[in-house]
């Protein structure tokens, strides 16, 4: 299942970043697909990006909301929030585990052999604060003389933007290089820290700082795709807890907002049918084959 997940992540990576003519055209993808919402965190300023980043677009709409209302245009972010909400209601954080390009980067880095460090549970609140303050409140309320705000998350935190857009755009557009100053160096440092942390810990950005993960996490309990725990079948062997890469007590809260739905607890750990995937009310079970029952 982990191999399948890796392939699907790679497929989404290339679907979200499928414009490979950019070295020739020297520009971003300009086509109509960019009206579609990227399910995962994927900077739309990446020259290969084919869809818009929901977090980036939401901030851009919120920071200019006063001006657009003054001009009689009700661009308040309802299209973007609608897209995000539909994705969250259907998939929850399954998107984080299976379709996020920056999640794939972190997963690959975590495969590098090194001492592994757990992430303190309290840091999980960070991503909710990032969503509330950097994505919503600060762009709405801190305005310049022209009544415009800033995309706080993109400007001061987002490592995906630096990796997917900042580095390639400076390579692609030499004219931009002189403009890269302290902010650029700061963002490179943030990116380097997140990438190094990803080697030592599993998905540190997703678990502590990602506002999109925080948003999708709100839907994990109610999404159409979620985990189903059967307490009658549970032997409390603890296999699900031990295998969980994000350190969730799966037997206590199988639909925790922290779960990225890697499904390893269902497909590699539980031998007793206590865990299954529920898809719109239908239960699907992928049970590991015990050693004495090889697959034919």
């Amino acid at each position: 299942m982990e191999r399948l997940r890796l392939w699907i992540q790679a497929l989404w990576f290339f679907l979200s970043n499928g414009y490979w003519a950019f070295p020739v055209s020297g520009t971003l993808y300009q086509g109509p697909l960019k009206v579609l919402c990227s399910p995962g965190l994927n900077c739309y300023s990446c020259p290969a990006a084919t869809t818009f980043c929901p977090v980036g677009s939401l901030q851009q709409l919120l920071l200019g909301v006063r001006l657009s209302l003054q001009n009689g245009q009700a661009y308040v972010g309802s299209y973007v929030v609608g897209c995000m909400g539909l994705l969250g209601t259907v998939f929850g954080r399954l998107i984080c585990g299976w379709a996020c390009p920056f999640g794939l980067v972190q997963d690959l880095l975590h495969r590098i052999p090194s001492p592994k460090v757990p992430i303190p549970k309290g840091l999980a609140w960070g991503k909710h604060l990032v969503l509330l303050f950097l994505v919503v409140l600060l762009p709405l309320t801190v305005l310049d003389d022209f009544g415009l705000g800033l995309p706080w998350f993109c400007k001061f935190l987002c490592p995906a933007g630096t990796l997917e857009a900042g580095l390639p755009m400076l390579l692609l557009m030499p004219d931009l290089r002189p403009a890269a100053g302290i902010l650029y160096l700061y963002k490179l440092s943030v990116l380097a820290l997140v990438l190094l942390w990803s080697v030592a810990s599993f998905r540190p950005f997703c678990r502590t700082l990602c506002p999109l993960g925080a948003f999708y996490g709100l839907f994990n309990r109610v999404s159409l795709i979620r985990l189903k725990f059967d307490a009658d079948n549970c032997t409390k062997c603890g296999a699900c807890r031990r295998i969980c890469p994000v350190d969730i007590r799966v037997d206590r809260s199988p639909n925790s907002g922290e779960c990225i739905r890697c499904l390893r607890c269902c497909t590699e750990a539980c031998q007793f049918d206590a865990l299954a995937v529920e898809i719109a009310g239908h239960v699907w079970q992928a049970r590991p084959v015990p050693p004495e029952q090889p697959v034919r």
């Binding site: 299942m1 971003l28 300009q30 960019k34 009206v35 900077c43 739309y44 300023s45 990006a49 818009f52 677009s57 851009q60 709409l61 245009q73 009700a74 661009y75 972010g77 309802s78 299209y79 973007v80 929030v81 609608g82 995000m84 909400g85 539909l86 209601t89 259907v90 495969r111 800033l150 995309p151 993109c154 400007k155 987002c158 933007g161 630096t162 857009a165 900042g166 755009m169 931009l176 403009a179 890269a180 902010l183 650029y184 700061y186 839907f219 109610v222 999404s223 497909t267 590699e268 719109a280 009310g281 239908h282 239960v283 699907w284 079970q285 992928a286 049970r287 590991p288 084959v289 697959v295």
Partner: protein, 59 residues
């Protein structure tokens, strides 16, 4: 990382539709349609077609 081989099967259980996701789907679909009604996708497209300089650490 090696993963254990798995068998995949669907258990036949009583289908119980849940109301919450359906309500949420409806709410967010209405939001999306409201956005389309005010031509917000055109604004999103306009933004997504240009380089966001602050996003890449410039400006």
């Amino acid at each position: 990382m090696t993963s254990a081989p798995t068998t995949m099967r669907t258990k036949k259980r009583t289908f119980v539709p849940r109301r919450t996701p359906l309500v949420l789907l409806l709410v967010f679909l209405l939001l999306l349609l409201a956005g389309i009604a005010v031509n917000e996708p055109a604004r999103v497209l306009e933004q997504a077609r240009s380089v966001c300089l602050p996003c890449i650490g410039i400006g």
